[in-house]
């Protein structure tokens, strides 16, 4: 019983996160300016991280947790670097 609840409930949650990623991807595509795309990329990263955490719950494995942590760190570094680039035109001065 609880296996069925977990399976279908986590599938529904993953579908919702996938829809959220689709909205973020739509904003990445239509822009209109660079900062909108960077913001949407940040939201996309966070949604992907949450999706991997849900996948880890579903599989019952701890490996996906570490993948989610790495995605969170890379999203932070990437967004900061892109914001710095938009501000100054260079990442490392």
């Amino acid at each position: 019983m609880s296996e069925i609840i977990l399976h279908w409930g986590l599938t529904a949650a993953q579908m919702i996160i996938a829809l959220a990623m689709a909205f973020a991807a739509y904003r990445i595509v239509i822009g209109p300016r660079a900062q909108d795309r960077v913001l949407a990329l940040d939201a996309f990263y966070v949604a992907a991280m949450l999706m991997l955490m849900l996948f880890g719950i579903r599989v019952g494995s701890a490996i996906y947790f570490e993948v989610a942590l790495i995605i969170g760190i890379l999203g932070f570094v990437g967004t900061v670097a892109l914001a710095k680039f938009l501000m100054r035109g260079e990442v490392i001065e």
Partner: protein, 127 residues
């Protein structure tokens, strides 16, 4: 412990927390896609990074605490990291966008504080 050995009420709470977090993330991304200008849009995804992450982290902690595969405090690392870094990144991004808008005289952005801005009165003859 397998997924079939989890008590039913724990499974229901895990699923409810997961769906609540997913719906909040979806709302944030819908706002990101629908708002009109950048300074409105920068607020929307923080729904996903604050309460979406909190709910899904709570679901994951509860599941792994009950199934007992590992201590369930690792998720707090993700939670602390996301909650600390999101304001920093969005603040930097908003400042970069403000800088670009000012440099291009684009949109209705305020002038920098501390500089003398000469505003021409439109009708100086009025008493």
């Amino acid at each position: 412990m397998d997924a079939a050995d989890i008590p039913v009420w724990v499974a229901i709470i895990v699923v409810a927390l997961s769906i609540a977090g997913a719906i909040l993330t979806l709302l944030g991304c819908v706002g990101l896609a629908r708002f009109k200008d950048f300074y409105s849009r920068v607020h929307a995804p923080t729904l996903g990074t604050s309460f979406g992450t909190i709910f899904i982290v709570m679901a994951s902690m509860l599941y792994f605490f009950v199934s007992g595969q590992r201590p369930a405090v690792h998720e707090l690392l993700i939670l602390a990291f996301v909650l600390v870094t999101t304001p920093v990144t969005l603040m930097l991004l908003a400042r970069a966008a403000l800088y670009r808008d000012r440099a291009e005289a684009n949109g209705n952005v305020p002038d920098p504080v501390g500089q003398d801005v000469v505003v021409e009165p439109e009708n100086p003859a009025q008493p």
